[in-house]
Amino acid sequence: MEWIKWLGAVMLLMGAFSLLVSAIGLLRMPDVYNRVQTGTKASTLGAIVSFIGVGLYQYENWGDGNWVGRVLVLIIFILLTNPVSSHVLMRAAYFMKVPLTKLTKTDKLKEDINNNIVKEPENE
């Protein structure tokens, strides 16, 4: 059953590559919004693949404890919390008026705020 271990190690390597790419994106992108696109969210899939890889790599010790359950809990947990935290953070950044990069094509939200369709949340 050596191949399960190989499969786990290869998945771990793919996850590590994805994490590395997201870190490179974090350095290269021009503004906060694009950094979030690559920095925290591209790493979600990398983390999930890595966790599955760790679970498979450890198949000899599945009898010792609940590796499978822990890995599933961690994956579900990341899938539930990651979008919420990045959405809240970016919304705060937008209304704090962190500037968008010059490459930006359109900003429909700005237009709608100027036309009073959307109200800005009040700062206390």
Binding site: S18, V21, S22, I24, G25, R28, M29, P30, D31, Y33, N34, V36, Q37, T38, K41, A42, T44, L45, G65, N66, V68, G69, R70, L72, V73, L79, N82, P83, V84, S86, H87, M90, R91, Y94, L100, T101, L103, T104, K105, T106, D107, K108, L109, K110, D112, I117, V118
Partner: protein
């Protein structure tokens, strides 16, 4: 009643995943705790009212997960190409889309799915209008952007929630 049942099932699944045994004492403690917690925290809540509990909806949950995983992998490959190419071919902008989903829970799942796919994230939600930051803007008008970003998830979520 439906709220209590769904929250009981969710709590029980979490308990079983964390303990990973099926012996009777464990099951008894877990179900007792889950019933108590769902009565304390969800006796008045309306969180899960709109979930459909039919076999078709059960099947569509797995279909939705499959579609979502495929989209996630495709978007990840796309973003990887953009990050690693030397000229940095990005084209960002904020577009506006409209959804035809009515219930709050379905809108939450839709916004979360859009946020989890790299390349797009939900910046602001106003009723049925989502403002989405898109790393590669192809269409700026509402209809085409809706078709491009929302429709692929929407047709499954319509079956799951009403």
């Amino acid at each position: 009643m439906k709220n209590l049942f769904v929250s009981f099932v969710v709590l029980m699944i979490a308990w079983l995943l964390l303990n990973w045994t099926l012996d009777p004492i464990n099951l008894l403690i877990g179900s007792g705790l889950s019933i108590a917690l769902s009565f304390i925290f969800c006796s008045k809540c309306e969180l899960f009212t709109s979930i459909n509990l039919t076999p078709k909806a059960f099947l569509y949950t797995f279909l939705y997960l499959g579609v979502f995983l495929i989209e996630l992998i495709k978007a990840n490959i796309d973003v990887t190409k953009r990050v690693l190419s030397p000229s940095l071919p990005i084209n960002p902008g904020i577009v506006k889309v409209k959804t035809r989903l009515k219930s709050k829970m379905a809108r939450l799942i839709l916004a979360d799915s859009i946020t989890l796919t790299p390349g797009t994230f939900t910046l602001q939600v106003e009723g049925d209008t989502f403002y989405i930051h898109w790393i590669n803007v192809e269409h700026t008008d509402v209809e085409t952007a809706t078709k491009e970003l929302v429709s692929k998830f929407e047709k499954y979520l319509e079956v799951l929630y009403d």
